[in-house]
């Protein structure tokens, strides 16, 4: 069988096989095929070849491909330093912990000093009763810088209130610390 001389038509036959022609172009090509036996035979071979290639092509699992693809650039989380350290709350937590530790150590140290230096001397007796916390049991002379005998009742009461506030602060610090530390997701 001789080949068709219409190269323009022949050249488009593979495109017609895969439906890659517009409606008008496809109509023209089919009209040519209806009157050209050589092109019709060639088109038949091309169609069968395409079918053969299709049969040899396995189905592709596109979901598996998508699962392996990198994330879209714009959707990637920005690179940041650890959240816990960058947040102001984290810094405040550290500051509170340091302050609480300092107060506890200071109160314990002062209590120990009091026991060492003024344990049995008269006039340096404990301010407050036996239930008073250690901070409140400091010798008055160490706290205020005045001799006990020079302080009036009002002065003593003011001093006691200040010591109570200090005690309350010390007692309260661990409580305020525990919540953020235990709830911190970073495990700080």
């Amino acid at each position: 069988m001789t080949e068709c001389d219409n190269d323009a038509m022949r050249d488009q036959l593979p495109l017609l096989v895969r439906g890659l022609r517009s409606t008008n172009e496809a109509t023209q090509l089919k009209a040519h095929l209806a009157e050209c036996a050589a092109c019709a035979a060639e088109f038949n071979v091309l169609e069968r070849s395409a079918r053969l290639f299709d049969q040899a092509t396995p189905r592709i699992d596109t979901a598996a491909i998508l699962a392996k693809l990198p994330a879209a650039p714009g959707s990637r989380p920005a690179l940041t330093v650890s959240h816990g350290r960058s947040r102001p709350f984290g810094l405040r937590r550290y500051a509170l912990a340091t302050a609480a530790s300092f107060l506890l150590v200071a109160s314990l140290s002062l209590g120990a000093l009091r026991e060492s230096f003024f344990g049995g001397k008269p006039g340096t007796d404990i301010v407050g009763d036996s239930s008073t916390p250690m901070v409140a049991m400091l010798p008055v002379g160490l706290v205020g810088g005045n001799e006990l005998g020079e302080l009036g009742v009002d002065d003593l009461e003011t001093l006691l209130k200040e010591l109570d506030q200090l005690e309350a602060t010390v007692a309260a610090e661990p409580v305020t610390m525990q919540r953020p530390v235990s709830s911190a997701p970073e495990g700080l």
């Binding site: 069988m1 895969r18 069968r48 053969l52 299709d54 596109t62 693809l69 650039p73 714009g74």
Partner: protein, 184 residues
């Protein structure tokens, strides 16, 4: 511009831009659009069992370097190029493992049996034998033209030849197939 089956709501270039600005669904559309042609191309190159894996690796490699893709070429041609390089790398690695001499990408004609599928009739059997009997280059050019309707210029860049040479390869392949199908 002719209306073709490729005329989908968004072009490849638009989908790439959408993906690059964070739209992961654009990747799904690109994969849906090009996975089967890629698989068909891989099968036409003689790949058997690992078509799925090869196509997957091609997409992963492509998306990792999508910013290097130039929009003046077809995405599908670029994907095919990546697929072919990956395949050649694999074949070279396999040959090295077997201590065989350097691979020539055109020497696979004798190994080609990717079209050894069940055929329904004698004509189809003859057609399969005819395609299997083509040289690797003829078969690749023929497959790209028939399966993808690819322009000769794109085929030329993909196979590393000239447009004129690819046109000749296509017509020689078609002639050989027609002769075998009609004369056996």
């Amino acid at each position: 511009m002719p209306l073709t089956a490729q005329s989908l709501p968004a072009t490849d270039t638009e989908l790439i831009a959408r993906w690059q600005s964070g739209d992961q669904r654009a990747a799904a559309l690109l994969v849906e659009r090009h996975a089967t042609p890629l698989a068909r191309f891989a099968a036409s190159l003689g790949v058997h069992d690992e078509v799925d894996e090869l196509v997957q690796d091609t997409f992963v490699r492509a998306f990792q370097s999508l910013d290097t893709f130039r929009a003046d070429s077809q995405l599908r041609t670029w994907l095919f190029t990546i697929c072919k390089r990956l395949l050649l790398d694999r074949r070279r690695a396999e040959r090295r493992r077997r201590d065989v001499a350097e691979v020539d990408e055109r020497d696979a004609a004798t190994e080609y049996d990717a079209l050894d599928v069940m055929v329904g009739d004698e004509l189809a059997e003859r057609l399969r034998n005819a395609v299997n009997g083509l040289t690797a280059l003829q078969r690749e050019v023929f497959s790209l033209r028939v399966n993808e309707g690819m322009a000769y210029s794109d085929i030329a860049s993909l196979v590393g030849s000239t447009e004129g040479a690819c046109r000749v390869h296509y017509h020689n392949a078609l002639k050989a197939i027609k002769e075998q199908v009609h004369n056996d």
